[in-house]
Amino acid sequence: MLKVSHLSKSFGGVHAIEDVSFEIPRGGVYAVIGPNGAGKTTLFNLITGLYVPSAGSISLAGEEISGISSNILASRGLSRTFQNLQVCMNLSAVENVMVGAHLNLNSSLLAGMIRAPGLRQSDRACRMKAAELLTFVGCKKFVAADASAMPYGALKRLEIARALAMEPKLLLLDEPAAGLNHTETHEIEELIVRLAKSGITVVLVEHDMRLVMSISERILVLDHGKRLAEGTPDEIRINRDVIAAYLGSEVGET
């Protein structure tokens, strides 16, 4: 599905990603883990076209995509959520999700101003769909809310609903469980499993090791921008380098 070869990105003197290669198979959950500052978010930003790689290549379904801007990549079925929330606080919850369906709607300014024929119906259908997605991610009670009035945990799900409105093939989730309590984390876990089952390839960055180990097919471990290990959860669990990098703490316990 996604193939990354010899990818590097540096900011001035900081090598945020250094010569990283891996391949994400179609379907299932693929996790990217690593200590703080390892380069996980940078990797996401490179894949989604927010950053241009310093070197290396990224290919999606066999086509080179590095350097292509993120709005074009969205039309190729690439969607994501953000570690630091990027919810549009000037819109309602439903409208935020509707933004995710942007590419399926007539977005001409003129058509919008004169409310062109068909626009009313497609917008109405989009609104219904958005409400269903909010319900699907567990935000039913915020369907009519303004985004600015929603609590943190709900906003994290809202971002997932928005990403889903795009009907992505590849979904990148950057720490979806960060800041959530036990129950919420569990719900997110179930949600991710359901997404993967529905045929979406999910790429997951997450610090919660229990979550990562229980739902991922494969795991990539980054450390200081470099690839430390890659493999199935069982392989990663017993990998010496990984255990050393984590000082035997989190990984060892689970």
């Binding site: 969205a74 549009c88 101003m113 009519a144």
Partner: protein, 322 residues
Amino acid sequence: MSTSGSLPDVLAPRSRAPGLLAVTVVLMVLPVFLPNAFYLDVAIRIAINAVLAITLNLLIGYTGQISLGHAGFVGLGAYGSAILTSRWDIHPGLALVVSAIAAGVLAWVIAGLILRFKGHYLAMATLGLGIIISIVITNETVWTGGPDGMSVGDFVMFGWQPSGERQWYWIFAALLVVTIVLAQNLVDSPAGRALQALHGSEVAARAMGIDTASFKTRVFVLSASYAAIIGSLSAHYLGFITPGIAAFPHSVELVTMVVVGGMASVWGAVFGAVLLSLLPQVLASFEGWETIAFGVILVVTMIFLPRGIVPSLAGLFRRPEG
């Protein structure tokens, strides 16, 4: 998943009909209560400012792109129409269209030049552009009559030649209602949500497939052309224009209407226009004080009602959600 049927109540957007009906009724009966041409003229100027404030709000309030040169485009329309009709004898309708297109092309070029940069470059660029336009108008005396201004012929459309405050009142009143409808439609459309999304979070908007540079350009072009059209019509109504129409203080006035009335609110722009257009009339006897009053109102709203008067008050009245 079924997507047919009607929307559940919670999802239905708030009805716009009452507001629209109210403003239409007010505009219809207002002339009855306006004793003479002077008051009609005040009403016309309010309508003109309201339309301009609405188009500017699409840019500033909804898209988050600050323009400090909106009056420059108004002036472009006004002088474009004045010059084309008087010097070249071009039909006023055609002159209006040509001026609007010229303003749109200019906006498109400016946007193309600056949108690759981030931050408040649009504010800077439009500030500069507005100043350049008003300097050109002031200095090209042969064409524009310079600081003394120039007279503008009558407008003609479909064989009708509107004349007198009463006829023009209906034109601008209709234009205001139409503009409110168009703006509300836009705000509640995929394009409008894209504009608001890029304001809310540019990276998120891009990740969702929105070509943010293109949308910024298009809304800027739209507001510039719209301003030029209003400029053309105002010029024909006024019959005489001076460079002040394109000058920086006029731009600031329009921005103030948006900020005071309400960012990202169509009604806010209308309210701001009414308030700040009436103010000089009310304070006319205190010569010079109106500028200070403008400043005080701006500062007070920004401190106490940072979202502007209309959105802040609207927020007070609907918060009972659980």
